[in-house]
Subunit: 428 residues, 2 copies
């Protein structure tokens, strides 16, 4: 191969096998895919070592993607149970899985996850550095941080979250305009701790070229993390958040210069009326790089229902330009998600992504809705079940409550408006 | 009393006991409440016979309200079970309950519901006319339709849905631009059936003054129904829907002239990017009358999750001016909702309403979020549970997964960013 990364290939006009896979899944022209991958508006996270990957693209003109978080941790370190989650997440049509393992046999879990995943895999190497070296955070060396990134790249991780924009300057802004909820990013808080205790600059910022070198070699996409994302509506769109975003925009250009693919991570907790502005800011300050949002949650008061608060925010974010939604489960803010939580989270995020695709006018998106509505008008229940985003749940609901007239459902029974209006208007 | 309706009182400058109750719950000045009730921008549904009502206002400058649908039907005619739902809905902080009974002892259920409800009660008399007279729809007489409305008013119903805008002219538009899903409103389809079979105009349109007379006498608020609301994304914002809305605007002015309070009912299934325009249209064409939306659902493909699709649409609708959200449950399009479905539906709608209130800048709304986020920063778990929109579910989740360190939760465990950043930034 004459190229190291998808971006470099695109810049040479080469359509890679990974791009062919993207073309097979999306309604985008070869020319647009090449041009946007070359310019960074589309990222195709595809580590050269992730051999069984079916690549997907993230960015302008492509369907909104959904990520699932899982991993082994101190409170849940059963590898085989987490691998079941990986399998289930793929079955439920997640587009990406982030392995956020923080404890125990993290490398074994990561390798096995990559081995069985045709979907892209992301990680946060800083978590693993804490797990791997078992040291107090300030004692982790710069070399150890980079060594961890290198191992993840070697294992086949397709994208890594790196909070390189959380610089001393951003921390100064944070101290100047105190927040209600400080830093809620785990990776961000680890780096803040390290930087403060050692009185040093963020190692990923200071040695960004070292990161680029690793990422270029394996074609690992950098997901520039938002260590200062707001953790409450109160802190949304504040100086610290935007300061970090400005730096992420600068780092984006440096990465692109090295042919390294980039995504930008975004909030967080954001009032509904601030979401559009946040999307615009990212696209402007980060030069059109794909935006990967965690939420945003449109209220802080609904623990137990944050899959819903984030579906609201995610749908609006997507409609205004977000390209990639990180799922949030009902367990958010309360506990590690179990299998059921994961399913609820995936479906809610897929609903948000699809609603956004319709709003954006993505070619082909609304046809799914039209097919479902046609089945509804025909009272064609098997077809409705087939087309449902979660046929399993739809079938269970339907089966649990049999109507007297099997053409309709128990919601309206004999008063079924679909049946009556079809009779009146179509005579059948 | 020198007034028949809240609107008439407001026009006389009289602050009624019901307005005092509204003032006790909302951050609005006496002057604004009077002026907006007088002009119709706020409705206070409060039947003079509903003696145990704690009145709430719906409209400009007030918090977004949430309605719950329930009732007895052919497939679910257990009165005591439905009355349990009424009690539970009140406990879960529904602002209104619509009794949509369609079969059996509808009057007994309605009266008992009103007796035990401090929240406002709405009905759709047309459903009951079908149940009550047991006739084929076309055989119901005009007098019987109005007799049913009169009985509901007499029983103490605070607002009635009347699809008076579904005129022959609107039906002509419907036939001219065929839809994917025709008419999905039950009341709308019954009237369409009646009008087509009898070749007559909509009786509630033709004899609108007769309706006003009843509503004025008891102070029943008319919720002008959208018989032609879209039942699929495909049919959203089409000529038939907007034609009906124009007529509803004309009827609104006639009602206001008679001191009768009005709300307007709205869609339905609407793509995310069309919601704002729908809100604007209603406010313009209906002269600022409160808007009561059913959804809108932002995709058709998610049966089993329509509490989520409607929470997305409802939040956006509310942020753009909708005043009152009808809940949708996970059972929508599949079966009658059970108790669990009802709870999911209420909480989802309350989340949407609150997110909208924050977006609208409703005084006091975001303070709830700030209190929750403060508790989060303090790792004050009992307070978080207290403040949660559903403390029951939040507590169950927390209890099901005890962390090793009880200050944090199992989501992040030792990597808790809140704890770490507080230590770094506040030294505690």
């Amino acid at each position: 191969m004459s190229y190291q990364t998808q971006m470099q290939a695109a810049r040479q006009g080469v359509v890679t096998p990974q791009m062919e896979q993207v073309l097979g899944e999306e309604k985008i022209s070869r020319e647009d895919l090449l041009a946007r991958t070359a310019s960074g508006r589309i990222a195709i996270p595809a580590n050269r070592k992730h051999v069984n990957l079916r690549a997907r693209g993230i960015g302008q003109g492509l369907s909104t993607k959904v990520n699932v978080n899982l991993g082994v941790s101190e409170d849940c370190c059963n590898i085989s149970l987490e691998l079941d989650k990986v399998r289930r997440a793929i079955e439920l049509k997640a587009d990406a899985i982030m392995d956020l393992s923080t404890f125990g046999a993290t490398r074994e879990f990561r390798r096995r996850t990559i081995d069985l995943s045709p979907v892209m895999i992301g990680t946060v190497p800083v978590y693993d550095a804490v797990a791997r070296y078992g040291k107090d955070v300030p004692a982790i060396s710069v070399d150890e941080f980079f060594e961890t990134v290198k191992i993840h790249a070697e294992d086949g991780v397709d994208f890594v979250t790196i909070h390189a924009g959380l610089t001393q300057m951003a921390v100064a802004r944070l101290r100047q305009s105190p927040r209600l909820t400080h830093v809620v990013s785990r990776g961000g808080s680890v780096l803040l701790h390290w930087m403060t205790a050692n009185e040093r600059e963020n190692p990923f910022y200071e040695h960004f070229d070292r990161l680029l070198e690793i990422c270029r070699q394996y074609d690992v996409t950098i997901s520039l993390g938002d260590g200062l994302r707001p953790g409450s509506l109160h802190d949304a769109t504040d100086a610290a958040q935007i300061q970090e975003l400005i730096v992420l925009g600068e780092l984006t250009l440096r990465a692109w210069k090295a042919d390294v693919q980039v995504m930008i991570e975004g909030p967080g907790h954001v009032p509904l009326n601030e979401i559009a502005a946040n999307m615009l800011l990212e696209k402007k300050l980060c030069h059109g790089a794909p935006f990967y949002v965690l939420g945003p949650l449109v209220t802080d008061v609904a623990p137990g229902y944050d899959h819903i608060t984030s579906a609201i925010g995610g749908a609006i974010a997507g409609a205004h330009g977000a390209d990639f939604l990180c799922y949030v489960t009902p367990a958010e803010h309360l506990r590690l998600p179990d299998m059921d939580d994961m399913k609820e989270g995936i479906v809610a995020a897929r609903i948000a992504a699809h609603a956004a695709d319709i709003a954006k006018g993505l070619p082909g998106a609304i046809e799914w809705d039209h097919a479902m509505s046609h089945a509804r008008k025909e009272l064609d229940w098997p077809r409705m079940m087939e087309l449902a985003i979660d046929p399993e749940k739809a079938r269970a609901y339907r089966a649990s409550s049999q109507p007297q007239d099997e053409q309709v459902c128990t919601m309206c029974g004999d008063l079924c408006a679909v049946k009556r209006s079809r009779q009146v208007l179509e005579g059948r």
